[in-house]
């Protein structure tokens, strides 16, 4: 398998703080890769660099053989990378269905004047968009909520809606930032299932940041561990779990030993953001 | 829907109760800014009209009409002025308008009056275009002068009497100020003056340091200001504070007691302005007017109060004349508009009469020298200038 996403020695410095320190990371096609690490390890910053929200201080990122450095977030999306956010960022004043339709933005060929004049292109695009949005809502189990305002959905459904919205961009790679945060065990289980289906049914490659080790251990092909911005371990879930450096990273920071592998149900609202 | 039925009931009641002996209502209307920074001048006009209606209302009432005066606020804003105008033309009782203060409002509003031949007598619009338009020629009149007379009159005074060579010309960037400044500059240049600075200041601006600093270095012979007292006062005050003692010359826009209040009584040395309305101190009739005005409104009249009074007198005289022609019936607006042109009397602001386009045929201009007290303002010089009649536009 060739690497779909290839990150070489990427580095991000904020003021004097090195948030991500020369991390090299590669994701093969159709893999499910987890990025874990204690709070403040630089995981979200890492995502933000891949998606073009931050520009790396140094290093290269290539996706599907194309350079991603210097592209705007929307251009990154066009290349096939979609994401969700740790602190859910839905369009609260729009309906569930419309949120997904926004995700269709790059897929639709409709131009300004098509919308004004209701051209054939507009009509076919809208229809195609609606059908696809319906499919995606069905896929995440939210079709019956399509006319609800996104802001009114319960927490778990909002997370799933974010996934549906990201899928609407028709990505090859999807980055999920703590997709199960704030979910109860049953919702977590459903989401885990959903992530698997993502890969198995649609062939999308998945990279996720996750705190719930039970999720990480059961669905990941490989796991990458960041600590203080540096990659300290990488490998199969089992190996990583028993890596002494990883254990130290978690324990040494005073985190409860039990957290490792426990269901970290509380949403880490002030987690990795820089 | 209840509202309508109630409304209809009220209508019916009103219709029955209408005064049977009355031949109906005649309204005269004023449109001036009654709110906003220029409301002082607008209110002065309104009060003048009110006084005139009190004095000469009988001219119209004697024919058995109910005379009503309605003041409108045009907010010195042409949208409001035009909206009001559209309201007025649909009220058949309105036979004449006294207005406006601002030429920028008067020009578009009078286009509306002209559509129904509703006459407008302006107490204050000196911009030539107010009476120089083909479309409104029949209805626009004014009892004040024109910029193309006032400006040159000022320039003549500045160049020949004050012997000034080096001039600063400042205007307030309104239709009035800039128009006056242009007329002034044109004549001054023709008379060989050197206009070193010809600049505008923004409406509402109070910081004139930039222009005055230069004047302090340049030492112009005269500073000519075309604008309204509310900026002229602070300008004068700041100018004198900078030690610039050059004469300060202006137009009728500063003819107000506020000039002394805002500019400081101590700074009135070497301050002159041109106006067609003589100062109260020099005209006995004006003095009587001022006393009565003060008794009624509790404040001193402004220059524009007298214009408002005379304009209203024109209107009432014209309506009375037109009514007489109509054998005591309510005259048409066109008849009133026509009658205005035949009005002739000695007003507080001087001899009032109209030429074929509604201007004073010969305007008597006073060069007034300001004094520490507004009421003491003195006539420095008087000139009579025939109104020019440039081609209609």
């Amino acid at each position: 398998m060739t690497a779909l996403l290839d990150v070489q020695a990427v580095r991000k410095v904020f003021g004097g703080l090195v948030a991500v320190n020369d991390v090299t990371f590669s994701v093969p096609e159709k893999a499910i890769v987890s990025v874990i690490g204690p709070n403040g390890a630089g995981k979200t910053t890492f995502f933000n660099m891949i998606t073009g929200i931050y520009k790396p201080t140094a290093g290269t990122i290539s996706f599907d053989g194309r350079n991603m450095i210097g592209l705007r977030p929307d251009e990154v999306v066009t290349n096939g990378i979609a994401r969700t956010f740790q602190n859910i960022r839905l369009f609260g004043a729009m309906t569930t269905l419309e949120n997904v339709l926004v995700g269709r933005h790059t897929q639709s060929k409709t131009q300004f004047f098509d919308a004004l004049l209701h051209t054939a292109r507009y009509k076919s695009d809208e229809r195609a968009g609606l059908l696809r949005a319906k499919e995606l809502l069905e896929f995440v189990g939210l079709l019956d909520k399509r006319d609800e305002l996104a802001a009114n959905l319960p927490y778990g459904e909002q997370r799933r809606l974010e996934i549906a919205r990201a899928l609407a961009t028709n990505p090859k790679l999807i980055l999920l930032d703590e997709p199960t945060a704030g979910m109860n065990p049953q919702e977590t289980e459903e989401t885990k299932h959903l992530i698997r289906r993502l890969r198995d049914d649609t062939g999308i490659t998945v990279v996720l940041i996750e705190h719930d080790m039970r999720v990480v251990m059961t669905i990941s092909d490989t796991v990458t561990v960041l600590d203080y911005g540096t990659k300290i371990a990488e490998g199969l879930p089992f190996d990583v779990r028993n890596n002494p450096q990883v254990i130290e990273a978690y324990l040494g920071r005073g985190a409860a030993a039990g957290e490792f592998g426990k269901n970290a149900a509380a949403p880490s609202s002030t987690g990795d953001a820089v | 829907m209840k509202k309508q039925f109630v409304g209809l009931a009220v209508l019916a009641a009103l219709a029955v109760g209408a005064d049977a002996q009355n031949k109906g209502t005649i309204k005269i209307v004023s449109q001036t800014p009654l709110s906003g920074g220029q409301s002082k001048l607008g209110t002065a006009i309104k009060n003048g009209v009110e006084l005139a209606v009190q004095d000469f209302g009988q001219l119209v009432k004697s024919y058995g009409f109910n005379l009503v005066y309605e003041p409108y606020d045009d907010q010195a804003n042409k949208d409001t002025g035009v909206a009001n105008a559209n309201r007025l033309i649909n009220d058949n009782d309105v036979l004449a308008v006294v207005g406006h203060l601002n030429s920028g409002v008067a020009i578009p509003s009078s286009e509306v009056y002209a559509k129904v031949n509703l006459t407008m007598v302006s107490p204050a619009n000196t911009n030539p275009l107010v009476t120089d338009r083909k479309s409104t020629g029949a209805v626009t009149n004014r009892v004040c002068g024109r910029d193309d007379v006032q400006g040159p009159a000022g320039a003549d005074f500045v160049i020949t009497t004050l012997k000034a060579k080096k001039l600063y010309v400042i205007n307030d960037k309104t239709a009035y100020g800039e128009g006056l400044a242009q007329a002034f500059s044109a004549r001054a240049k023709a008379l060989g003056a050197n206009i070193v600075v010809d600049t505008g200041i923004e409406a509402g601006e109070r910081d004139f340091n930039t222009i005055l600093n230069r004047a302090a270095v340049d030492k112009p012979d005269v500073v000519y200001y075309a604008g309204i007292y509310d900026q002229a006062g602070p300008l004068l005050k700041q100018m004198r504070a900078k030690g610039i003692t050059a004469p300060f010359v202006s137009g009728d826009g500063i003819d107000s007691s506020e000039l002394q209040a805002l500019g400081g009584s101590d700074n009135m040395k070497n301050v002159y302005f041109t106006t067609t309305s003589g100062p109260i101190s020099s005209l006995p009739s004006a003095k009587r007017f001022a006393e009565r005005y003060k008794a009624k409104f509790g404040m001193d009249p402004e220059g524009y109060s007298a214009y408002g009074y005379d304009a209203a007198k024109v209107v009432l005289t014209a309506i009375a004349a037109a009514t007489k022609d109509a054998k005591g019936m309510k005259p048409t607006r066109a008849a009133v508009a026509k009658a205005v042109r035949n009005v002739k009397f000695a007003g507080i602001t001087g001899a009032v009469a109209f030429n074929s386009r509604g201007d004073l045929p010969v305007a008597k201009y006073f060069i007034v020298q300001a004094q520490p007290e507004y009421a003491d303002n003195k006539v420095f010089k008087a000139v009579s200038v025939a109104a020019p009649t440039p081609e209609l536009k």
Binding site: A273 | K40, D198, E258, D266
Partner: protein, 335 residues
């Protein structure tokens, strides 16, 4: 333009620019205080400034009347109060009055909206309503007693404020130094209050996060009231300084300085106290320089009326390159 004229005008232009800028700065402080805490442009601040000026001037006129010492012929020969003393009393009075008014405005026009979670633009419109109301209400009250254009009383027997003091080769009236002193005092006091007191810490906390502050036991409503009180008081002080500097007040003076000061606050970085100061002075300088030099440099083709274009042009350029203003912190949004 001759070099003599160019250099002759330079010192006075700098002095006038700074002096104008200082007035902008005090008004800008009021905008910035409220914005820093509520992220809301208090559009009625220009009218609070105006009311402050009117209150101060009215008090001074009254003081001038009651403290006049007359000789046998009823001629005023002096005053039993020093003009500076009278000014200080007027400043305090105007600050108190304008502060109270700002609190009242907040109660009536903003708080109900905030409590009901109205969209951000809505208080902007009620602020505009408030402005219209305050202007006409002031005019109405003033015209009950006479004129609404009120000159700043000179205490003319001792025209203290206009006494010129030689400075930088030019003579600067004392009032400009008074303005400078008051402004520096205000700024220093404000920086001390915000950074070194318990109340200041509470204000900063509320600015950061209202709900967390409430959880930490801070009475958020009280702090917001306090912020409006301080902002309003600053506006009141600015109003009196403006009257001192330009010689008169009326109900319509608020608009232009308000607009300019708001611009100054943004230029410096809205929400930042030193930024408001810097922005004010900078804007004052830009305007004064443009007003002075545009006309002679272009031979009158571009005259002083273009100075606002220069001021806004500079603002736009600065914001394009420093999108949060000169001293504003670029708030990188949490992603």
């Amino acid at each position: 333009m001759t070099p003599e004229l160019f250099f002759g005008l330079l010192p006075i232009t700098i002095v006038d620019g700074i002096s104008l800028g200082l007035v902008y700065a005090v008004i800008a402080l009021g905008y910035t205080m409220v914005y820093g805490v509520l992220e809301f442009i208090n559009f009625a601040h220009s009218e609070i400034f105006m009311v402050g000026g009117v209150l101060g001037v009215e008090l001074l006129i009254w003081l001038q009347k009651v403290t006049a010492i007359k000789d046998a012929g009823e001629k005023v020969i002096g005053y039993s109060i020093h003009p500076l003393g009278a000014l200080i009393i007027a400043l305090i009075f105007a600050a108190a009055g304008a502060g109270a008014l700002a609190v009242a405005v907040e109660r009536v026009a903003y708080r109900p909206l905030r409590l009901r979670g109205a969209p951000k633009l809505v208080p902007l419109i009620s602020a505009i309503g408030m402005s219209l109301f305050l202007i006409d209400a002031t005019r109405f009250i003033e015209s009950l007693f006479g004129q609404f254009n009120r000159p700043f009383p000179e205490f003319s027997a001792q025209p203290f404020f206009s006494v010129p003091v030689p400075f930088l080769n030019v003579s600067v009236p004392i009032k400009d130094f008074v303005v400078l002193a008051v402004v520096l005092l205000m700024l220093g006091g404000l920086i001390y209050l915000i950074n070194y007191t318990r109340t200041g810490r509470a204000i900063r906390a509320v600015a950061q996060d209202q709900s967390t502050s409430a959880l930490m036991g801070i009475d958020v409503s009280r702090i917001i009231t306090l912020v409006f009180l301080i902002g309003g008081a600053l506006g009141g002080v600015a109003g009196v300084l403006y009257a001192l500097k330009y010689g008169n007040v009326n109900p319509y003076i608020g608009f232009i300085p308000g607009l300019k000061s708001f611009t100054a606050a943004v230029l410096g970085g809205i929400g930042s106290i030193p930024g408001a100061m810097l922005g004010g002075v900078l804007l004052g300088l830009i305007e004064t320089f443009a007003g002075t030099y545009l006309d002679p440099l272009t031979g009158g083709v571009i005259d002083a009326s273009y100075k606002d274009i220069v001021a806004f042009g500079v603002l736009i350029l600065i914001l394009i390159f420093k999108p949060a203003g000169l001293l504003g912190k670029a708030v990188s949004e949490k992603v």
